[in-house]
């Protein structure tokens, strides 16, 4: 596997920026209330919460995932295909046009055998038929 534009990975530096943006957003707003009596019961929740400060909710993780995918897409990843090329040459000279007892030319018989062999192999590979007309 390789990357067409590895320099695009520099955009991963945006993730800490996103975290900082969340930290700034999570700074508590100050509100004056008549009495804090009823709020005392709520204090436990912060300590119980996994991850503590700041509150990184599902939205944060979704944004990190989307940003990572975009950066990867910009980097242009590709996969190397390790295949063994095989060249098959069929004689296309005039002698190959001689008819066999079945009534087909030698060339056609050779091509049919070749097709049958390649189909039987079922390798999933591709092949190109290049003809060279004398």
């Amino acid at each position: 596997m390789g990357l067409l534009y590895p320099g695009a990975l520099a955009f991963f530096a945006l993730i800490p920026v996103l975290v900082l943006a969340y930290l700034a957003k999570e700074r508590p707003s100050r509100v004056t209330v008549s009495s804090v009596m009823a709020f005392r019961a709520l204090r436990g929740f912060r300590r119980e919460r996994f991850g503590g400060w700041p509150r990184l909710d599902w939205m944060f993780f979704a944004e990190v995932l989307i940003l990572s995918l975009v950066v990867l897409a910009l980097a242009g990843p590709f996969i190397w295909k390790r295949t063994a090329p095989l060249a098959i040459v069929i004689d296309n000279s005039a002698t190959m046009q001689a008819l066999t007892p079945s009534g087909k030319s030698r060339f056609d018989v050779a091509r049919e055998k070749l097709d049958a062999e390649l189909s039987a192999e079922n390798s999933g590979g591709e092949y190109r038929n290049r003809q060279c007309i004398p």
Binding site: T32, V33, S34, S35, V36, L42, R43, F45, R49, P54
Partner: protein, 299 residues
């Protein structure tokens, strides 16, 4: 209307005039009125008999009883006097928060409506302000329904500010007022229950008939306007708490507020006091009609 807040429409005033302050015991007043007094006097309400003594008014001799018993008895009647009504308005800083609820304005409306009920039924009213700034409250009784405008004007420039110890302040007030009667305390009662119970307990110990009117903001009791991570600052003590408020926390906050109001209500009912809760999202006039009994008023 005539210097009164807009809520005091002619229709509402007429409704208030049909009410009167109810007490669970008899109090001596300062003049003729509509409440039975512990004193004996000349009303139509029969009270007791006593033996005739030279110098008694002949008109009070029960001649029917003389015919049956051959002894002279004097009929004694109950005196009817006015009721001394004390109205305390909490003007501490907490009454100003949250500003959107206009808690203090509603507390003043409640105090004025109670004062008008008392004045309209011929009682004397003393309005007292606990804390606050900008008030020029004369610590004397007023009587006559026209004096309601004067009371409204005195409260006009009052702003909620400062803090006070509820029990200590009420103890000082109790020493100052001396004569027993009906007491209304209009406050948010957002303070330590111990301080509240001590304060109210002193008034009941002094034979006062007490009504606690708790005024809370509609947004305040539901925790509206608070979301996410919030640093809440106590308006009076300046204490700070950092809390995270979501749906679950808001519900817990609301439950706590309701529990606090129930604790106060429970204390009041156990001690034979009247208790009424008014939240500012209610219609003020409707509240007064619905909560007549809870406020210690009667038709």
């Amino acid at each position: 209307m005539f210097g009164l807040p807009d809520e005091f429409t002619p229709g509402f005033l007429a409704r208030l005039e049909k009410l009167r302050v109810r007490t669970r015991q008899r109090y001596a007043g300062m003049g003729r009125g509509m409440h039975l007094s512990p004193k004996r006097g000349s009303s139509l309400e029969f009270n007791d008999y006593r033996h005739y003594s030279p110098g008694d008014d002949f008109r009070h001799i029960d001649w029917g009883l003389y015919g049956r018993s051959d002894k002279l008895y004097i009929k004694l009647f109950q005196e009817e006097e006015d009721l001394l009504t004390y109205i305390f308005v909490d003007a501490s800083a907490s009454m100003g928060f949250p500003p959107a609820d206009r808690k203090f304005e509603h507390a003043i409306l409640t105090a004025l409506a109670l004062a008008y009920v008392a004045l309209a039924s011929g009682d004397r009213v003393m309005l007292r302000v606990l804390g606050g700034q900008g008030a020029q409250i004369d610590p004397s009784f007023v009587n006559g329904r026209h004096r309601i405008v004067e009371l409204a004007r005195r409260l006009q420039n009052l702003k909620p500010a400062g803090q006070f110890d509820f029990a200590t302040t009420l103890a000082t007030e109790l020493l100052a007022i001396r004569r027993a009667g009906k007491v209304f305390i209009v406050s948010d009662f957002l303070m330590l229950l111990n301080s509240v119970t001590r304060g109210l307990g002193m008034f009941t110990a002094a034979s006062m008939d007490l009504t606690a009117v708790q005024v809370l903001g509609g947004r305040e009791i539901n925790g509206q306007g608070l979301d996410g991570d919030v640093e809440v600052v106590d308006s009076e003590s300046g204490e700070r708490l950092r809390v995270s408020i979501g749906e679950r926390e808001r519900k817990q906050y609301r439950d706590t507020m309701i529990r606090l109001t129930r604790q106060l209500k429970s204390f009041c009912l156990k001690r034979g006091l009247h208790y009424s809760l008014y939240t500012t999202d209610q219609d003020f006039q409707q509240f007064f009609v619905r909560a007549t009994r809870d406020l210690g008023l009667a038709h």
